[in-house]
Symmetry: C3
Subunit: 256 residues, 3 copies
């Protein structure tokens, strides 16, 4: 059974999510449609890209991912399909698909006019039928030609020197944990064996192995399953208690 994932900011009270699914199922009722999230803050490309970037590699190779964030605001840049690490993504050419990896996609297709239509609901009328057909065996290049103006957005990168990594909070999760953009491979390369991690008014001196390696109420810091530095408070809402939020700075200091 072919898999399609579906990510949007459509919420759960409107007809948008079921209408897109219905359109796909009308093409192929055998599709297994997996929701990534539909509770992305409206128009929040950074949030949506973070969630999909964190999860798409876990799906089987060949999975089709339908991305519907800000699809109507970008109508002039068109709709595209890309192939990235053997996954296929369909969405608007508004930059969101450029945030899924640090490298460019292998294949990029601009959907041809014949597959577009004058619609106020392109996720349903344009993307859904192509997604269902691609998941059922078609190729994205069946629906258009080479994309020449792939719109790129730059995710905020951590800055690293021998003395310091300066990163930011990329996501505050449901528990109030703070996931940063500081990567384990960069940390490992620079770490001389002694370091401090600074955020808000806190300093921690070593890495933990998990949330529960410190007492409830104490700060933890570890590299999570995405190999990103994650900090927070065991069984507490770290963001609230530490006064941190999306985009707050986090320092790793090596020059002690």
């Amino acid at each position: 059974m072919a898999l399609v994932t579906f990510l949007s900011d459509f919420g759960d009270k409107d007809y948008y999510v079921p209408a897109v699914k219905a359109k796909m199922l009308a093409v192929n009722p055998q599709l297994n449609i997996i929701d990534i999230s539909h509770s992305i803050d409206t128009f929040d490309i950074a949030h949506a890209a973070f969630v999909l970037r964190s999860t798409f590699r876990e799906f089987p190779k060949g999975t089709v991912h339908l991305v519907a964030i800000n699809t109507t605001g970008s109508i002039t840049q068109g709709y595209i399909g890309i192939k990235l690490e053997e996954h296929i993504f369909l969405g608007p050419n508004n930059g969101i698909l450029s945030l899924l990896a640090d490298h460019d996609p292998g294949i990029m297709v601009q959907f041809a006019d014949i597959h577009l239509q004058d619609t106020t609901f392109p996720a349903k009328d344009i993307l859904a039928p192509i997604a269902a057909k691609v998941a059922s065996g078609a190729a994205i290049h069946d629906f258009g030609g080479p994309l020449t103006n792939f719109r790129k957005l730059m995710a905020r990168q951590a800055k690293a020197t021998k003395e310091q990594i300066l990163g930011h909070v990329a996501r505050v999760d449901r528990y109030g944990n703070l996931i940063t953009n500081i990567r384990k491979d960069i940390f490992d390369k620079l770490n001389p064996g002694k370091f401090t991690i600074e955020f808000g008014r806190e300093i921690v001196y070593n890495l933990n192995k998990g949330y529960d390696q410190v007492e409830p109420g104490d700060c933890f810091a570890f590299f999570n399953s995405m190999n990103l530095l994650e900090i927070g408070i065991n069984h507490g809402h770290g963001a609230d208690l530490l006064g941190l939020k999306y985009d707050s700075v986090v320092f790793v200091n090596f020059n002690l």
Copy 2:
């Protein structure tokens, strides 16, 4: 794989949604159950009907739709199955199924006593088993006889004269956009070529092709993919900014 859609006001924190699905899967584990929404405001038949009416036709013909809104409040009127435009709907006879189209269903069945039971959870104990069996090949008339007292509710209709269409906001969506009950076919028939659209303290003089055809912060108006007049503010929460809500009046004036 047979499709069943499922619409309710059960929310996402209780056992009601998974219990209904479980009951269907116990009949046929191969069912593909698609959620329409479970976040309908409690007992809000108008909201539920709007969402289902806006989406059911996108599903493949023959899809079974299980509708569980206010199922227990209507126990005295019984439970019914209808066939409408080659879709099958099961639900309480409380009027909600009368709001899905402007015409009557082709087939209407009152479920027989033998399929009912004394229960405080009829969506699970009565509707789910029938839905699963119908999706697996049975016919709704296998479960009862002709329905003679189909309960009808009247959706608020737009009023049209040569001078004016007077409509209402039928739904404020997650983005704050206002979907009205003013239909494109009525507008097209009456439109002499010049018109104004009035809502709140705003007047617009022409139709757009989409949300992003006006500057962010400006009002748009267009006929959406359901051929209903939709108004709002590009990248703004139209309802809040315009002071409009569900049932607010919207005018289209032709007599200028």
Copy 3:
């Protein structure tokens, strides 16, 4: 198509839910994954156990249930699989699986080190692959040996004497209805034919057959489809109007 249910407190805005599903689908893309809920209050084992206990028996026998509540806080107690009433449950050994029934599971397996790994996301990295394999035909004892330290939690039980049953509110549902831990079989055994039910400042003198057997605004009381005493206000938010909440006391008096 094999069924797996999935219960967590991960919410709907993070990558946790889709990442766990992806990991299962990578093992077996044919899995039919049914959400129990992901909106459980964070770390709320009692809420999660109540929802799963109320619904698991409706699923087909042999269904695999993946339970991810507080999985990281319990890392030292390990991860387990149990077989209970021909259903299979996988989760942390933190007591949650002991709350699903009043009797002990028939089979209890402690997952062996070889299937564990050093991870901050055990629901994805440990439980998901085992769940997918068990749903695809493997047995839980393929993944470990006998569990000797099954962690048990005690759900609050109603206390019954000939004169009185003293129970508590076990769940306030979305509608404000109050589901108690007072069981029908206990009530039936003790009931001399005359009783009062007391909660907040209300007393009711008989049982109803459903929500709508009293006037809107009046109190109802009945044994629900789980055979638990449920009380509330027809078409009103019982908890708010009666000043009751989770764990509030409810009395059934027989000594009149």
